[in-house]
Amino acid sequence: MTTESNPRPEPTGGLDEAAYLRIEASPEFRRLKSAFRRFVFPLTAAFLLWYLLYVVMSAYARDFMAKKVGGEINVALVFGLLQFVSTFLIAVAYERYSRKTLEPLAADVPTDAAGASVPPQRSAAPSDASGGEAGETRPVASEEEAE
């Protein structure tokens, strides 16, 4: 494996480092990664800001939060309940996005030994039907380390 000062006891799942580099450079993986980050990063920023707005208003805008909107229900309560609603909606949205977009993209990434030996062509055409027969070279890794 690696040097003695750097033991790496975790089995790496049967692929070697070069294979992972090739997969990482494959257009299919790049698409998956950008689809993931494009969705998750803005959403994380949005819900954190939305939550911090709620906390900041609870600390600094107490008059506004105290306004009644109907019966005994005030802005603070509505704002708080909206935090629950937004949390549930984001969870549902991410689940849908994962099933519709991310999981199919992940399935397209060539992670078997044959696919993994696709040369790292960044300019490769975005063909979803990534033939699989791209390179009938030797299997990259032979031993599956059973857990």
Binding site: L52, V55, S58, Y60, E72, T87, A91, E95, V109
Partner: protein, 552 residues
């Protein structure tokens, strides 16, 4: 049973007729969970069984177990109590605890499941030199878990007198010992499988109890939330103020408001760095199940916190803050007192039975949480410190699991002893501190590991120690430890750990606002000031995390 003997010998208070029912119900829960634990031990053969429950739990099961792990007595009794005594401010806690799950869902759960194996450090050390990072992550895991554990166990000791109407120190000590012994048994014998089932059973019981109370309370107010709020506000004697933020976090000086922000930040960023939460993601077969389990958990925990709002305001309206304060100044008995009131009031059979049920559920809640914490710290000790730091990865799985069991016993015993010594102290701050450390020490390193290509060993180590030292250090300088009167703490803090008179040099109780940026900054500087690059291993981590290739 000694505990029973001690409890029975205690002087009878007015509201103790429920004690026997409570103890019987609790004994039934214990018997069921012990049976499950022994069954689980027969199914536990490999390290993956012990650490990760064989990775065979479904999304729903794990979602329930996450709820069981997360909804502590502090969030059931504590938040209901804040609602009951301070009104709206309970929401500030529960919303932070809930929104935090989005960090875990979007950024952590699936990637951790795919790339790690047994502990948080598996992912933190993935790209790095193993020993320094595992040592740091193991230390921070154990510190976070032990702080959280102490808060729960000391809390259990304090609760027994309130819930069972017993008196004196003996009942407290016996409670801590019994809770500790059961938790050690669950973990040592049942491993992750046993612990998970205990948490599932507890989550179901807690949800049933909360649903019954919520519907019952709402039925008294024609299912009209506005009526309930109005009645709570009237009964509190504080009028509309009771329904607005600020009664608990009401001081208007600069530091107090920043303290509230600091608390909010630690709550929302801490959850995804709590080791006992993170290891739950390893108990399912794949990333999709990890994701659905977080979604179930968000649903369960969200509904639960909405119910604590009704329960807390219900206690304010139906029991009244005077009666609650008479039992416990902190309001921890608001929910059980409400149960007694709903059942028919003090002295009625219905009241005694419902009080007994809720009290038993509260103790079941504590047991499930402390078991999860003990498992997280013993797993990390065995897998990170023993196997990878001391033995440099040269151990047999069997050895490792044996060490995990022994360390669960030792950590449990230490926790019992510390809790007995700390039983007179006000340790509620330890929960907030555990969240702050998780957010300051664990989360920056976890996020940089998963998302920053340039990140390296020095950065990971600097981030963990920097965040840990900053969070603990600031609390050591805070009004929690130094109780002198100041503009921020006008009445001083007579419960201060070190001195009642010296004024605290740091004015906030919650360090997160400073310690979280310090954690990120240390991780950043540690990286850019050293030359090591981990881009190749990062490619592997990314591929595995996003595709599930090579997942355990």
């Amino acid at each position: 049973m000694n505990a029973h003997h001690v409890l029975a010998a205690a002087t009878a208070a007015s509201r103790t007729e429920h004690r026997t029912i409570s103890l019987v119900l609790f004994a039934v829960f214990v018997a069921v969970t012990l049976f499950i634990t022994i069954w689980a031990s027969r199914q536990t053969r490999t390290a993956a069984d012990f650490y990760a429950g064989g990775r065979q739990f479904t999304g729903l099961q794990n979602g329930l177990a996450i709820g069981g792990d997360y909804m502590s007595a502090a969030s059931f009794l504590g938040i209901a109590g804040i609602f009951a005594l301070s009104g709206y401010d309970g929401f500030l806690y529960s919303i932070g605890f809930l929104v935090a799950w989005l960090v875990a869902l979007l950024l952590v759960a699936e990637m951790l499941r795919n790339s790690g194996r047994f502990t948080m450090a598996d992912v933190l050390a993935f790209r790095m030199r193993q020993r320094p990072v595992r040592a740091a992550a193991g230390i921070s895991t154990i510190v976070v878990s032990i702080f959280y554990l102490l808060a729960q166990m000391v809390g259990a000791g304090a609760l027994v007198n309130l819930l069972l109407g017993t008196h004196g120190e003996a009942a407290k000590i016996w409670t801590i010992v019994v809770v500790g012994a059961l938790m050690i048994f669950y973990v040592v014998v049942g491993g992750m499988k046993g612990t998970t089932w205990v948490q599932i059973v507890k989550a179901v019981l807690l949800m049933i109890g909360a649903v019954v109370m919520t519907v019952w309370v709402l039925s008294k107010f024609d299912f009209n939330l506005s009526h309930l709020l109005g009645a709570a506000a009237d009964s509190s004697g504080k009028g509309d103020k009771f329904l607005q933020p600020g009664l608990k976090y009401g001081a208007t000086d600069v530091w107090s408001k920043l303290d509230l922000l600091s608390l909010g930040l630690a709550l929302v960023l801490g959850t995804a760095g709590l080791p006992h939460v993170l290891i739950r993601f390893y108990t399912v077969p794949n990333a999709r199940a990890a994701r659905t389990s977080v979604n179930w958990a968000i649903g369960i925990i969200g509904v639960f916190y909405l119910m604590t709002l009704v329960i807390g305001f219900g206690a304010a309206a139906l029991v009244g803050s005077k009666a609650i304060m008479a039992q416990d100044k902190g309001g921890n008995t608001a929910a059980p007192q409400l149960a007694e009131r709903l059942g028919g009031g003090s002295g009625t059979t219905g009241g005694a039975v419902f009080l007994a049920i809720i009290a038993a559920v509260a103790f079941a809640t504590i047991l499930a949480v402390v078991a999860g914490l003990t498992l997280a710290s013993s797993s990390s000790f065995a897998h990170d410190l023993y196997a990878n730091v001391f033995k440099r990865g040269q151990t047999a799985e069997k050895d490792e699991v044996r060490v995990a069991r022994v360390s669960a016993l030792v950590i449990g015993a230490i926790a019992i002893l510390l809790s007995i010594f700390a039983r007179g102290l006000n340790v509620a701050f330890l929960v907030a501190l555990a969240f702050a450390i998780a957010a300051s020490a664990n989360l920056p390193t976890l996020l940089f590991s998963l998302f920053w290509k340039r990140f390296n060993t020095s950065g990971a180590v600097a981030g963990i120690y920097g965040g840990l030292v900053a969070a603990v250090g600031l609390v050591l300088l805070s009004p929690i430890c130094w109780g002198g009167k100041s503009a921020t703490v006008p009445k001083g803090n007579p419960d201060a750990l070190f001195s009642e008179h010296t004024v605290a040099p740091f004015h906030m109780q919650n360090p997160g606002l400073f310690s979280i940026p310090i954690g990120f900054l240390c991780a950043y500087l540690g990286t850019v000031l050293t030359r090591e690059k981990t881009a190749e291993k990062y490619a592997e981590l990314e591929v595995r995390a996003l595709t599930g290739e090579g997942a355990h």
